[in-house]
Amino acid sequence: MADSHAAPALGPAALRVFDLGLGQMLWSRRTVFMALVAGGPVLIAVLLRALASLPVFDGGAGQIAGRPVSLDGPDIFGLMIWTFYLRFTVPVLGVFYGTALIADEVEDRTVTYLFTRPVARGAVLAGKYLAYLVCTAVVVLPSVMLVYFLVVPLLGGDIGRNFPALLVDLGLIGAGLAVYGAVFGLVGAWFRRPLLTGLVFVFGWEPLVVVLPGYMKYLSVAYYLQGLAPHAMPQGDALSVIQALLTSVQTPLGTWANLLALAVIWAAALAAAMRVVERREYVLGQ
């Protein structure tokens, strides 16, 4: 009889939801988007490689199309880590998937099947979050790896010597996905228009506060993540120039302080998201 089956505890329940949610998430319409986001840098890397074999890209003379190249492979890789992954892929995927953890199920009205099971709603969120993490990591991290092997050997870069930096990058991107996912999981559980809120946070709030002097920057994820990046910040746009100027004046946080801050944000956001989901009613539209 039914009474003989104990309801799963939080951990196992989350794992079951994960199992259910992973395939669902991996083959949703977002997959196309994620493939583009993760595949884009790889494509650029392949293009750079192709260019390197063409006469316009005279590696020996350090020129591309007659313009001197002042970077070598590792520098280009560092640049790509910043512009593509830290500033684009990680926050965008965090927003896109994080805000959809519950919203997707609500929109598809399948949340009923999860919320009428003897499983804490928090476990549903945790399981979906886990699925998000695996789903994005399994696509984004290999993308970083491919870019590394494509780009670093350019112009005399050494795959071996830069390997520790790659490990840091992989860890950093993993941590970024985890923290952004948790933060936007909370946003998704809380706000009516989570996507817009998320986009404003990532592309409005964060770039602004990390360059402002004072304590505002502590209210972002990017500040801590960027503090951990092993590569120099690219000096392209005005914001990063200001940021570079300011960081040379301010004492940046140490590695452990950054990691601790990220861990605190992660744990707090995830716990809060679980709590919100536990308490909130989801009225399915007819």
Binding site: G23, D72, M145, G156, I159, F163
Partner: protein
Amino acid sequence: MTMTTRTRYVLLGGAGVMAVGLAGGLVAWVSSRLPPLVAQERPDELRYVPPEATILSFANVREVMDSNLRRRLREIQPELDGQREFQERTGIDLERDIDYIVGGLVPDGPDDTRGIAILAGSFDADRLETLALEQGGAASDYRGRRLITIPDESVAMAFLEAGVIAIGSEPLIKRTIDLPFAEGGVDSNDSLMGLLRHVERGSTAWTIGRLDDPRGGGWLPDEVEAQVSQVAAFAAGARVNGGVSGTLTAEARDEETGRNLRDLLQGFLALARLQVGSRPELRGLLDSIQLTAAGTNVTLTFDLPSDAVLELLPDRSDADVAAAP
């Protein structure tokens, strides 16, 4: 698990890429980072350096000249005046003709040392000889090798074999020519050559030495000098490409000294980091320095991208101005 086959393929694919990448990267890293496993290979010319040499250096000139860093340096300082003059006088183009240089310091009596340099590359022997004779040198044959001595400067030069020249004091040069016939070169000095294991394979330049009679030279602070006197041997290697990276290993006389040395260096680094605010160009260097200690050995590694190296160069702007006509 209710995972579909397609999902499983994606997971396996992702994990596969990661595994292959990590394994490949790890192998590449190990082979580049662990000098004791694969020590620097030895140039053949070591056999011309006397075995009693205490300090031995090697520089791969060709690699430096071809490096990205050098290219960038040239953008800033197109050419050095001295270089052209040297070429006009010797017929040796520093940029092209020298492949590498091996140098040694050999003790000569209790208080003196003599140096020898062995250059490998392509040289115009006749032109060099003519040039030397013009400067008042004298040419002779010694054991079938052409030997040119310039008495005023007590410097001698010998053509050891095609494309290999030795420059140094006359007795040392003669000894060099004798070596292959007698006891053999420094490559048979296991105590010194053993230090090469600290030098990363593929280093562009390296230097190793055993300090039996260390002298700080008076320019170091007393405390440091006291420590340096405890260094029994050192090995340093550097690679030049986009930037400069390298390791410096010091072998202390005992473990206690090793620890002291490490603490001292750590203190130094901490101090430097504190003061780096006023010299932002040093930040890259300091951030890249890593200090490790094992037994009697203390090792410093650093890694500077080309930008940081250029930052470190003194008075770049002045050089630019000076170079302009």
